[in-house]
């Protein structure tokens, strides 16, 4: 790359996006702790939350290194304001009922799965190592939420209705998954990250496969809300961060 500081900034922004996606969704799932519909599912959701927060730590600590200003993963997670969060809009949406949580999980995890798979061949060694580690966990996540989507969709009249309502509500946030920044172009050219167009094709194929098995109808193309990577979020993220960041805001530098 010609300009290394611009390249670093591009990679830093990209890593924040990856890290924030995992962090925010992990936090959302953790909200189910003690509220799961059955004990096994309570445990499953918190296990997945833990994996996601683990993945967020890897991305954010690498982001801190790339930025080179001495910011740690904790500072990036706990001391950044909402407009500096880059996560995709889908993951910040509220849990709603169990069907809604599973649909959100499914739509994101299919994306995460194909993205991490593509990153296995990244020319950036650190990113490749993270993908190699994370893809094993993400594969389990995907199987888990696919199972639930099929079970609920092809289940009772009530579970089917709830899952269909969930996809109808959440669909407008799926376009944001594939939003890119101008600075991504250099990263794609250097084969550090994949082109999201290819990921989108794989995403829709998997989503169609599972939703058709679940007898769920994919909503027609309509308005897509976008802006996560530019820091333009829905109203939910601020509330989420108020809880996630409370301790470090109230007692900066507090340690366990």
């Amino acid at each position: 790359m010609s300009n290394s500081s611009a390249a670093n900034k591009a990679l830093f922004d990209y890593l924040l996006w990856l890290g924030d996606n995992s962090l925010v969704l992990g936090h959302r799932l953790s909200e189910w702790c003690g509220h799961g519909p059955v004990l096994e599912e309570d445990i499953a959701m918190t296990n997945i939350a833990l994996d996601l927060i683990g993945q967020a730590r890897l991305y954010l600590s690498l982001a801190g290194d790339i930025e080179g200003k001495g910011r740690s993963e904790d500072e990036l997670a706990y001391l950044r304001d909402v407009m500096f969060f880059k996560n995709t809009l889908l993951v910040e949406q509220v849990n709603g009922d169990f069907a809604s949580t599973m649909m959100r999980q499914f739509l994101f995890t299919v994306f995460n799965y194909h993205l991490q798979n593509a990153m296995l061949t990244s020319t950036n060694e650190q990113l490749r190592s993270i993908a190699e580690k994370a893809i094993k966990e993400t594969t389990y996540h995907l199987r888990h939420c696919s199972d639930w989507v099929i079970r609920l969709g092809d289940g009772t009249e009530e579970s089917h209705k709830r899952l269909q309502d969930a996809v109808d509500t959440l669909w407008m946030f799926t376009g944001d998954l594939f939003e890119t920044l101008d600075s991504d172009k250099e990263l794609i050219a250097a084969k550090i990250v994949p082109d999201l167009k290819g990921i989108r094709d794989k995403w829709i194929a998997t989503v169609k496969e599972v939703l058709s098995e679940a007898t769920i109808t994919i909503p027609e193309e309509s308005y897509m809300m976008k802006g996560g990577r530019k820091g333009i979020h829905t109203e939910h993220l601020g509330f989420l961060l108020a809880e996630l960041q409370f301790m470090q805001r109230a007692y900066p530098g507090a340690k366990w």
Binding site: E40, I43, L50, K136, E137, H144, E213
Partner: protein
């Protein structure tokens, strides 16, 4: 200066906090022990990215080395190659079984997204193969929850990754 074998023997005494019958060597968390003129270089790798035991494990290794009087060492964490359950030693698998956790089957997970992907897992207590998975996700990130239809006991299965 200690030999590599001595250091490994010390590490054999460091146990996983969540599976306290397995040492970090049995688990395959210790990837490399190298000794040169500067000191001992230990390389470890996490089992799961979110494994909350990783920091404890590193602290436990430090305490053990301190106890044994090893001064010059460093511990490096690597992610690649990614940890797999195939790295759990045969002795480790036997210990898991005796402890009441079904050891992982060989090789990587089944990657198919739809359909029946349940494996036949042997009950660690009565050895019946008539067992049923209750949840992919068990008491810790690395385990699934099973129940034995023969002896009716629930048990953990160390899932393959």
């Amino acid at each position: 200066m200690e030999t590599r074998e001595q250091i490994l023997a010390y590490l054999e005494e460091v146990y996983d906090p969540e599976v306290p019958v397995l040492s970090v060597v049995d688990l395959g968390i210790v990837r490399k022990v190298e000794i040169d003129g500067v000191g001992t270089h230990i390389t470890i790798t996490p089992t799961y990215t979110g494994c909350p035991a990783m920091n404890d494990i590193e602290d436990d290794i430090r305490s053990k080395l301190k106890e044994k009087g090893v001064d010059h060492y460093d511990i490096k964490t690597i992610l690649s190659p990614a940890w797999t359950t195939d790295w759990i030693s045969e002795a480790g698998k036997k210990k898991l079984q005796d402890y009441g956790i079904a050891p992982p089957e060989k090789s990587s997970p089944d990657l198919s997204l739809i359909g029946n992907h349940k494996k036949t897992i042997k009950c660690p207590r009565c050895h019946s193969t008539d067992t049923e998975m209750k949840s992919f996700f068990g008491s810790t990130a690395c385990k699934s929850l099973y129940v034995c239809n023969n002896c009716k006991e629930p048990f953990d299965y160390f899932k393959c990754i």
